[in-house]
C-alpha cells in the first residue's frame, strides 16, 4: 500500500454547449473536525454530492475519512453543474485517504453519478465528454455502464462500471482491462416512411423533393390544406441516405446531452418539426440552460416548418443567420457556443389566406391585394435562403386511388441510392462534406465546373425576368445539383431551365 498522500488528483469533465471541458479534481484530506467542502464555482447539484458520496462509500465497504475533506474542481473560474463528478470525487477521497492505492504518475478519469447504494449512473452529455476524454490519453478511464452507447459513438476506450466497488477493483495490479468501444451496424432506415411514389400527379413537388435531398437545398412548398405538404417532408426524410458513423455520433451526442442515457443510436436522419408557436429559445436553443434548439437538433437532417406563413416575422428572421452560416451561435457569459446546423429547411404553407390559390377552378376567394399582403410575411432576405419553390395541389380522385393501390412499387430506395451517388460526386468535387447548396468559393462558377455558355444562358434567363438577380446564384447551384443527380459532369442549358422553374416567380 502506498503512503497516504495529502492531495490526490483525478480528472472528470463537464459538457459546455457542444464542447467539453476536462476538469481536474484535487482532493485533500487533513485532520480535524469532519467537514466537506467543494470549491470551484459549483452549483448545488455538485455540492449535494456530499450525501451521495458518504452513503455510497459506506455501502461499498469504505469509510468517509475523518477530517477536513476539501475538493477543488478546476478550472475554478468556470461555472459547473451536474452530478457526473460524483464518481471522480468518491475515488479522489479514497485515493487521498489511502483506502485504495494511488500512484500520482498515472492519470485517472472518472465520471458518473452515485446512488446511495453505491451504484453508478449515467448523466446527460456523456457523448460530448467522452469524445474529449477519449483523446486525452488517460491511464484509467471509468464510465458508468449506462453510458455504453455514448462510448460506442465516440469510438472510446475505457471501462464501464456498475458500481463504486467495481470501480475500485480497477486499481488493483492488473485490474484495469480497458474495452474498445465502436459503433457497429446501426439500425437501418426504417421503411415505415412514406414512399415517394405517393406523390402521384405532383411531378414538380416530386422533383423538388428529390433535388432538395440531392443537394441539401432548402425548400418552400406552398399549397392548399390537404395537398400533402407534411407528407412531402416525411418523404424527403425517406430518400436521404443514412448518417455515416461520425455523423451518427454527432447527432447522438446532441440528443444524449438533451435526453440522457435514454437516447437511442440511430443512423436515421433527424426530422424536426416546428410550428408557428415556436419560441426563439426553442428554435435556436437556450443560452442560460445550454439546451440546443430545434435547428441544432435537425443537424444533418430536416427542419420542417409547417404553416410557415403563420410564423411571426421575427422568428423567421432569427433563422436567417443560422441557415446562411449552417450553425447556431449562442452567447453566454461572453463565450460563444457553436452548434452545427447543417440541415435542409423545408417550409410549408398556404399560398394565400384561403389556401386555394393553386387549386383548379377558381376556388380561391382572395383578391390580388390580399394575396400579396399575405405573401409579404416572408421577407426578401428570408426567401434568399430558399433554393427551391414548388406549389402543390390537392390530389385528384384518380391519383388518390392509384396512390393506395400499388404500394408495392416503392421508388424511394432507388432514389435514395441515386441521391447517395449524387452526394459522392459533390463531395469529390469540393473535397469533404460540402454540398452544392453550401459550397463557398471565391469563384463559384469554377468550383462548380460551369462553362461560360451556361453562365450567359443563366443571365439571359435572369434578364427575361424569370428570376431576380439574387436568384442567379441559386439557380446555378440547383442546376449543378440536377446535373449531379443525373450523373452528368457537365451542366446543360436544360438543367438551368429546370432550375429556373423552381424559382419563386411570384413571391
Amino acid at each position: 500500500m502506498s503512503s497516504k498522500p495529502s492531495v490526490a488528483r483525478i480528472y472528470s469533465g463537464f459538457a459546455r454547449g457542444t464542447d467539453c471541458v476536462i476538469s481536474e479534481l484535487e482532493v485533500s484530506v487533513t485532520p480535524g473536525i469532519p467537514t466537506f467542502s467543494v470549491i470551484g464555482l459549483c452549483d448545488s447539484s455538485i455540492r449535494e454530492s456530499h450525501g451521495r458520496i458518504m452513503s455510497a462509500l459506506r455501502s461499498s465497504g469504505f469509510n468517509m475519512p475523518k477530517g477536513h475533506v476539501t475538493i477543488s474542481i478546476s478550472p475554478a473560474y468556470m461555472k459547473k453543474s451536474g452530478s457526473g463528478f460524483d464518481l471522480a470525487m468518491a475515488i479522489g477521497i479514497l485515493f487521498a485517504s489511502g483506502q485504495i492505492p494511488y500512484s500520482p504518475g498515472r492519470r485517472t478519469y472518472a465520471e458518473g453519478e452515485l446512488s446511495l447504494d453505491g451504484s453508478v449512473k449515467g448523466t446527460p452529455g456523456a457523448a460530448l465528454r467522452l469524445n474529449k476524454a477519449g483523446s486525452e490519453g488517460f491511464d484509467f478511464v471509468l464510465i458508468p455502464e449506462e453510458e455504453r452507447n455514448s462510448a460506442r459513438c465516440t469510438g472510446f476506450e475505457g471501462r464501464c462500471v456498475k458500481d463504486l466497488g467495481e470501480a475500485c477493483l480497477v486499481f488493483r495490479p492488473n485490474g484495469y482491462l480497458p474495452e474498445k468501444f465502436s459503433i457497429g451496424e446501426e439500425p437501418a432506415i426504417s421503411d415505415g416512411k412514406l414512399d415517394i411514389s405517393m406523390l402521384k400527379g405532383q411531378e414538380k413537388t416530386k422533383r423538388a423533393i428529390v433535388l432538395s435531398a440531392a443537394g441539401f437545398h432548402n425548400m418552400l412548398l406552398l399549397g392548399s390544406p390537404g395537398s400533402g405538404k407534411t407528407m412531402a417532408a416525411k418523404i424527403l426524410s425517406g430518400i436521404l441516405p443514412p448518417l455515416d458513423k461520425s455523423e451518427t455520433g454527432e447527432v447522438y451526442a446532441l440528443y444524449e446531452a438533451l435526453e440522457g442515457p435514454a437516447a437511442k443510436i440511430s443512423s436515421d436522419r433527424p426530422v424536426r418539426c416546428i410550428s408557428p408557436d415556436v419560441t426563439p429559445g426553442k428554435l435556436l436553443g437556450n443560452a442560460m440552460s445550454m439546451t440546443p434548439g430545434e435547428m441544432a437538433l435537425a443537424n444533418h437532417g430536416v427542419l420542417f416548418a409547417d404553416e410557415i406563413m403563420e410564423f411571426p416575422a421575427q422568428v423567421l428572421d432569427l433563422m436567417r443567420k443560422p441557415l446562411e452560416e449552417r450553425e447556431v451561435r449562442l452567447f453566454r457569459n461572453g463565450i460563444t457556443y457553436v452548434y452545427p446546423a447543417d440541415l435542409i429547411f423545408v417550409g410549408a404553407g398556404n399560398p394565400c389566406k384561403c389556401g386555394m390559390f393553386y387549386e383548379p377552378g377558381s376556388r380561391c376567394k382572395c383578391s390580388a391585394g390580399t394575396r400579396k399582403r399575405y405573401l409579404t410575411r416572408l421577407s426578401g432576405p428570408f426567401l434568399e435562403r430558399v433554393d427551391i419553390f414548388s406549389e402543390m395541389r390537392s390530389i385528384g380522385k384518380d391519383d388518390m386511388a392509384l396512390m393506395y393501390a400499388d404500394s408495392a412499387s416503392a421508388e424511394s430506395p432507388a432514389v435514395r441510392d441515386k441521391v447517395a451517388r449524387c452526394w459522392e460526386m459533390q463531395n469529390r468535387r469540393y473535397g469533404g462534406k460540402v454540398f452544392n447548396s453550401s459550397v463557398n468559393a471565391a469563384n463559384l462558377a469554377d468550383a462548380m465546373e460551369l462553362s461560360k455558355d451556361i453562365l450567359s444562358y443563366c443571365s439571359d434567363l435572369a434578364s427575361k425576368g424569370l428570376f431576380s438577380a439574387r436568384g442567379y446564384q441559386k439557380t446555378l447551384r440547383l442546376a449543378r445539383t440536377i446535373a449531379d443527380y443525373e450523373g452528368r459532369s457537365d451542366v446543360t442549358k436544360a438543367d438551368v431551365s429546370e432550375a429556373a422553374v423552381f424559382r419563386a416567380h411570384e413571391l
Binding site: K204, D460, L461, L466, I482, E498, A500
Partner: protein, 414 residues
C-alpha cells in the same frame, strides 16, 4: 415637325370635306368611276378647270358639289394651311389609309375615315391590330358599380396588352382611360372634335396623360370644335376600331347604345354589364341584353372574343398582318394546323423520342389554347418527364409565347 407632301394632301382632303359641299357620297362616286385612286388624288384634281367636270360623267348633284369646291378653292387652301399650322403646333400626326399604321379593323370596313389625326403614341394603332382592342363605353353619370367594373376590366385588359378604346367622356369613359393608364397605358381616346380639342374640359388632366402614355385620335382636323352632330360618327369609330364592345351602363336613350348598335352592325360582339333592373340608368343596357348581347361577367369571355377576332384577322388577311413577327412567312389555316398537331400527337404516343423540341412546343401551346395549366397537369397530359417540360416551358417563356400567371402557364396575347 414638318409635314411631308403626302401628309399635306391628307390635310387637303379633310379640308375639302370640311369646307365645301363635297361629301362622302361624292368621294365614293369618284372612287367608283375610277377618277381617283386614293384620297390624295383630290389634291391633284383641284387644279382641274371647272369646265372639265362634265367629262367625269358624274351625277348632277355630285357635279354641282364639285363645282362648288373648285369655285371656293382659296377657302379650302386657307383652311388646309390653318390645320397644318395647328397640327404643327400641337405635334399632331397624320395616319391615312396609305400608312402602315392605319388600323386593320378600319381597312376591313367601308365608310371609315381615310385620314386620322393622332396625338400620342401612334404605335398603339398597330398594337390594336396585333394584340386586340376593346371598346369600353357607358354612361357619363354612371353608378359606383359600373365604375368599379370598368376599372377592374380596363386595368386587366391594359395589363394584358389589349388596348382600351373609349371616348374620353365623363363617367365610364374617363374611368376606363384612367384604369388603362394605370396598367401598360395602352388606351386610345377617340374624340368628336379635333385631336387638340379637349372635351369635356374637366378631362384636361386626363387628356394630358393619354397624350403622353396613350393615344388620342380623331377624324376631325386640328382646331375643329366638337359639334353635337359629330358624336354619333365618333361612336361609330369607337366600335369600328375595337374587336368587341363593353357596355358598362346605358340609359334608355344613351349615345352608348349607338356605339353598341354600330358594333353589332359591324359583326362584333357586344358585352353588357348586367345591372339592377330597377335602376333607371341601366335600362338601355338591359334592353341590349334582351336583344341578345353577351353578358359581361368575366374577362375571360371578352379575351376569348378578342383572341378569336385576332385569329380571324390573321387567317383571313395575312397580307394585312404581314409585318407581325410571330405569324411567319406562310400562315397556315386552322384546319391544316389541327391535322399537323394530330400527327405530332400520334408520333408522341408511339415514338416520343423522335418528336422534336419545336413539335413539343407546338403541343404545349395547343394544350394551353383552351385554358392555362399548371406544370403538373402539363406533365400528365403530355406524358413528358418534368425536366423536359420545364426546359420547354422556360424556352417558351424566353421567347415570350408563354407567361406564368398565378402558378399556371398561359399563352400570351400576341
Amino acid at each position: 415637325m414638318d409635314y411631308k407632301d403626302g401628309e399635306m394632301m391628307d390635310f387637303y382632303y379633310t379640308a375639302v370635306l370640311m369646307n365645301t359641299a363635297v361629301d362622302y357620297r361624292v368621294i365614293r362616286e369618284l372612287f367608283e368611276k375610277g377618277d381617283v385612286e386614293t384620297h390624295r388624288d383630290l389634291y391633284g384634281m383641284a387644279k382641274m378647270p371647272s369646265t372639265k367636270i362634265k367629262d367625269l360623267l358624274l351625277s348632277p348633284q355630285s357635279e354641282r358639289k364639285l363645282r362648288d369646291w373648285l369655285e371656293s378653292k382659296g377657302k379650302v387652301e386657307k383652311a388646309c394651311e390653318e390645320y397644318m399650322q395647328l397640327g404643327k403646333q400641337y405635334g399632331i400626326q397624320v395616319v391615312s389609309s396609305l400608312n402602315r399604321m392605319y388600323p386593320v379593323n378600319f381597312r376591313l370596313q367601308t365608310g371609315m375615315p381615310k385620314v386620322l389625326y393622332c396625338r400620342g403614341r401612334t404605335e398603339l394603332l398597330k398594337q390594336c391590330s396585333y394584340q386586340g382592342s376593346v371598346a369600353v363605353v357607358g354612361s357619363r353619370n354612371a353608378s359606383g358599380y359600373a365604375l368599379y367594373a370598368t376599372e377592374r376590366f380596363s386595368s386587366e385588359f391594359s395589363t394584358k396588352g389589349i388596348t382600351v378604346v373609349s371616348g374620353m367622356a365623363l363617367g365610364v369613359d374617363r374611368k376606363a382611360h384612367e384604369a388603362a393608364l394605370q396598367g401598360c397605358g395602352s388606351t386610345i381616346a377617340i374624340l368628336a372634335g379635333g385631336p387638340d380639342n379637349v372635351y369635356p374640359p374637366e378631362n384636361a388632366e386626363l387628356y394630358k396623360q393619354i397624350v403622353s402614355k396613350g393615344l388620342v385620335i380623331s377624324e376631325m382636323p386640328p382646331g375643329q370644335q366638337p359639334l353635337r352632330q359629330y358624336f354619333p360618327s365618333r361612336n361609330r369609330l369607337i366600335a369600328g376600331l375595337s374587336d368587341c364592345t363593353l357596355v358598362m351602363e346605358a340609359g334608355a336613350c344613351s349615345g352608348t347604345l349607338h356605339t353598341a348598335s354600330f358594333a353589332a352592325v359591324q359583326g362584333k360582339e357586344v358585352f353588357v354589364l348586367p345591372n339592377n333592373i330597377y335602376f333607371e340608368n341601366a335600362e338601355g343596357g338591359l334592353k341590349l341584353l334582351e336583344d341578345g348581347c353577351c353578358v359581361l361577367y368575366s374577362s375571360e369571355n371578352v379575351i376569348d372574343s378578342v383572341t378569336q377576332s385576332i385569329v380571324r384577322r390573321r387567317l383571313e388577311y395575312p397580307d394585312l398582318m404581314e409585318n407581325e413577327e410571330n405569324i411567319g412567312g406562310n400562315p397556315v389555316s386552322e384546319a391544316s394546323n389541327r391535322e399537323k398537331l394530330d400527327l405530332i400527337r400520334l408520333k408522341a404516343d408511339k415514338t416520343p423520342d423522335e418528336v422534336t423540341d419545336e413539335e413539343w412546343e407546338a403541343l404545349i401551346e395547343d394544350e394551353l389554347t383552351l385554358k392555362s395549366l399548371d406544370i403538373d397537369s402539363l406533365c400528365n397530359s403530355l406524358c413528358l418527364p418534368f425536366y423536359r417540360i420545364s426546359d420547354l416551358l422556360i424556352r417558351l417563356q424566353m421567347s415570350g409565347r408563354v407567361v406564368l400567371e398565378n402558378g399556371k402557364y398561359a399563352l400570351t396575347f400576341r
